[in-house]
């Protein structure tokens, strides 16, 4: 990562703005100074052309924790997630304002190549999307592209380790040369997780990873997430509140707000420890959402 940091006033230790000081509705409602976050956003807004999809998000994601982003549809949670590894760069007309820092380095700095960002911040998508290659090649592809220097047996070890970490090894160890498409939906998603792990990232972003799967497969994915958090920092987007309650350490609640021009913009409403958010949320909106009064 290059060294130039864009936002000069930011110190390396991040502190989220204390609640009492904020007058505007849009600031988050976290109250404690969190430890150094692996990814920290400050005042981040995402635009698609003129349309402001998400406004003024300030969050700090902690290391080796699972953070969940929840909210009704259209609230911008996926947009926020995709901005964390510059996947929005692929959308023509998309623009990010504000600061997004990974271990203190601004990822949207003009000298930063998104390729570098994405090796360290991996992503798993809603619908499993393995490559039309063999299971082995699916895993090894990312490693090769990122310059894996090992020999064949070291690659095999890497593949095996990735599959084991994804709790898939036992099921596929005899058919590594078969196509990734020959697996069931749940297995494919675990394959995608293994694929993301194989490049040794730091953070794994998951965009509704279990929403296309049946309940049993979902359960396995959730168990896997809890397992993985020991080695990785995980940020997930989910529309399933119970899932967020089951797996995450910290939860951020987003909501859509209509501004005076009639534009629907997503805003961060509350971000706190999961147990707290679901039992005694600080903001009324959050309580309305989790009790099902809207959504």
């Amino acid at each position: 990562m290059t060294s130039e940091v864009r936002m000069s006033e930011g110190e390396v230790t991040e502190r989220v703005r204390p609640q009492g000081a904020s007058q505007s509705q849009s600031s988050d409602a976290s109250e404690v100074a969190t430890p150094l976050g692996v990814i920290v956003t400050e005042g981040m807004s995402v635009y698609y052309g003129k349309f402001r999809a998400v406004a003024d998000v300030s969050l700090s994601f902690a290391t080796n924790e699972i953070s969940a982003l929840i909210g009704p549809s259209g609230c911008g949670k996926s947009t926020v997630l995709r901005s964390l590894n510059r996947m929005n760069d692929l959308v023509p007309g998309a623009r990010v304002e504000g600061s997004v820092r990974y271990h203190g380095d601004e990822i949207y700095h003009e000298d930063v190549d998104p390729v570098e960002v994405r090796r360290k911040i991996g992503m798993v998508f809603q619908k499993p999307n393995p490559f039309p290659k063999s299971i082995f090649e699916n895993i090894s592809w990312g490693a090769k592209v990122n310059g894996f220097k090992g020999n064949k047996s070291e690659m095999s070890d890497l593949v095996q380790e990735a599959l084991e970490s994804a709790a898939l090894w036992d099921e596929v160890k005899d058919k590594l040369n078969e196509s990734g498409y020959s697996l069931s939906g749940g297995q494919q998603q675990r394959l995608c997780i293994a694929r993301a792990i194989a490049t040794k990232p730091d953070v794994i972003l998951m965009d509704e990873p279990a929403s296309a799967l049946d309940p049993i497969a979902t359960l396995r994915i959730e168990e896997l997430m809890l397992d993985l958090k020991n080695d990785y920092s995980i940020i997930i987007v989910t529309h399933n509140m119970q899932q967020a309650a089951r797996v995450s350490d910290r939860t951020a609640f987003f909501n859509v707000k209509l501004n005076d021009q009639g534009m629907r913009t997503g805003r961060l409403v509350e971000y706190t420890e999961t147990s707290q958010l679901f039992t005694s949320p600080k903001v009324q909106e959050t309580e309305d959402y989790i009790t099902g009064r809207f959504g």
């Binding site: 570098e116 310059g147 220097k149 070291e154 890497l158 095996q160 040794k200």
Partner: protein, 464 residues
């Protein structure tokens, strides 16, 4: 279990590039990316320059300086008739004036021959007399002039050009040199050695594509030849092609999309159509030759209608050509129409039937109009392709030399692409020039057709 712990303790950081190593790896990938972009640019430039070069070559040949020797200068002829050459050109003379010029310049024998090929006036003779005329027309082998319509002005103008002016182009230059080195070229033409080799040559900037070129019939002289016969032939042939291929093609598409059940037979028909679309066009020519020209000769030569009767009558007529090309573009029309029909939402079909209309009524009143923009676009594009087809018509038997305009579906014919083919195949330079001019005419016709397709498509989709 133990393997798992072992592997997890293994640190893979030494197997992935880090630090400087990493920077150079990423740098290498970035360089490859940049190189790829340059390569893609090169590819696109090659494609664009191929098109540009092609157009440039053609335009360059269709206009340019010539060193031309006229036996009699057009200006002299105009002056002799009594007009001012500054104001009037040879083409501005009236029909009668031109005939008079011709009368005064050609021998009687030549004149009689010309009149027998095609008369000058409906009501009087210029070279022949009444008695001899009735005699030869009553003979067993009457000349073409007995039945054919009399000449028109561009016809006679070409005659005057050919027989009186007798232009002879001895050297041509391309357009670009003609524009930028005009003086040098003129000096060369006027130089002693050039005049010695080509006495009386004078420089003239010539637009090989001009109105006379478009309106004159074919001729063995490149200086006076025109594409009229070819254009009319093309138009006749295309008219028949469309008349056949459009209804049959759209009909087949309607059958396949709206009526056909997905059984073996219909699948075979569909596969068959897809295969036919990929058959080389020359094969269709052979089909046309064997069946339309030979087997169906009584029909295609028109003899069943009592036409012809001349010994040269056979099946190599416009109708054979039109049907051959019709069969050629039929698969394309069917496939394009099928796609257009498929794009019509099913709700429209359901709505029509629910109102009590029969299937055909629904199709005729709702589905077909909705699909019409796509159907028309596809058909016009297919027709444009037919306009440019050469090989099948050569096989079917386009005439190699024909100077009379086609008079109906049973006439002999030549078409514009074949004319281009013939002229391109001749070694003399001047034929290169008129081939280029003819190509421009063809390209203009194609542009008009494609523009019509786009226009109709826009108009129809707006009114829908």
């Amino acid at each position: 279990m133990s393997t798992r712990i072992e592997l997890q303790e293994k640190d893979y950081s030494d197997l992935f590039p880090v630090g400087e190593d990493l920077q150079s790896q990423i740098g290498g990938r970035r360089r490859r990316e940049g190189l790829a972009r340059i390569l893609f640019m090169v590819v696109l430039i090659v494609a664009i320059s191929a098109l540009a070069t092609l157009l440039y070559t053609i335009i360059n040949a269709a206009f340019g300086m010539t060193a031309i020797i006229n036996t009699v200068e057009p200006d002299t002829i105009v002056a002799d008739v009594g007009h001012d050459p500054e104001e009037t050109g040879l083409a501005d003379l009236t029909y009668d004036e031109l005939v008079v010029v011709l009368e005064g310049s050609v021998t009687n024998n030549v004149g009689r021959r010309l009149e027998r090929d095609q008369r000058f006036y409906e009501d009087r003779f210029v070279f022949e007399n009444e008695a001899t005329w009735s005699e030869i027309c009553a003979s067993s082998q009457p000349p073409t002039g007995c039945d054919a319509a009399p000449r028109d002005k561009s016809n006679v103008l070409q005659l005057v050009n050919e027989r009186v002016v007798e232009p002879d182009v001895v050297k041509t230059w391309e357009l670009i040199p003609s524009l930028f080195e005009r003086e040098a070229i003129e000096a060369e033409i006027r130089s002693e050695e050039f005049q010695a080799a080509n006495p009386g040559a004078r420089p003239e900037f010539r637009a090989w594509l001009n109105w006379q070129f478009v309106t004159s019939p074919q001729s063995p002289n490149p200086e006076t030849a025109g594409v009229r016969t070819a254009i009319l032939g093309s138009l006749w042939v295309i008219a028949l092609t469309v008349l056949f291929a459009f209804p049959v093609g759209v009909g087949a598409a309607i059958y396949l999309e709206e009526f056909a059940r997905p059984n073996r037979l219909n699948q075979m028909i569909q596969t068959n159509i897809n295969n036919l679309a990929g058959v080389p066009s020359i094969i269709y020519g052979m089909l046309g030759l064997a069946i339309l020209v030979r087997v169906l000769e009584p029909i295609t030569s028109g003899s069943f209608l009592g036409e012809g009767g001349s010994a040269t009558e056979n099946g190599r007529t416009i109708i054979s050509a039109g049907l051959t090309l019709g069969l050629l573009i039929l698969p394309v029309v069917i496939i394009a129409s099928q796609e257009a029909l498929r794009a019509v939402p099913n709700s429209m079909r359901a709505a029509g039937l629910a109102l009590g209309a029969t299937k055909w009524q629904t199709i005729r009143k709702h589905i077909l109009p909705a699909a019409m923009p796509g159907v028309l676009t596809g058909s016009i594009l297919a027709t444009a392709r037919a306009l440019g087809e050469t090989a099948p018509l050569v096989v079917v038997g386009a005439s190699t030399f024909i100077i009379t305009d086609p008079s109906g579906p049973f006439s002999k014919f030549t078409v514009l692409p074949i004319q281009i083919f013939q002229w391109t195949s001749r070694p003399q330079d001047e034929f290169r020039n008129i081939a280029a001019a003819a190509i421009l005419v063809l390209l203009i016709l194609l542009i008009v057709m494609n523009a019509t397709a786009v226009f109709l498509r826009n108009r129809y989709s707006r009114s829908n």
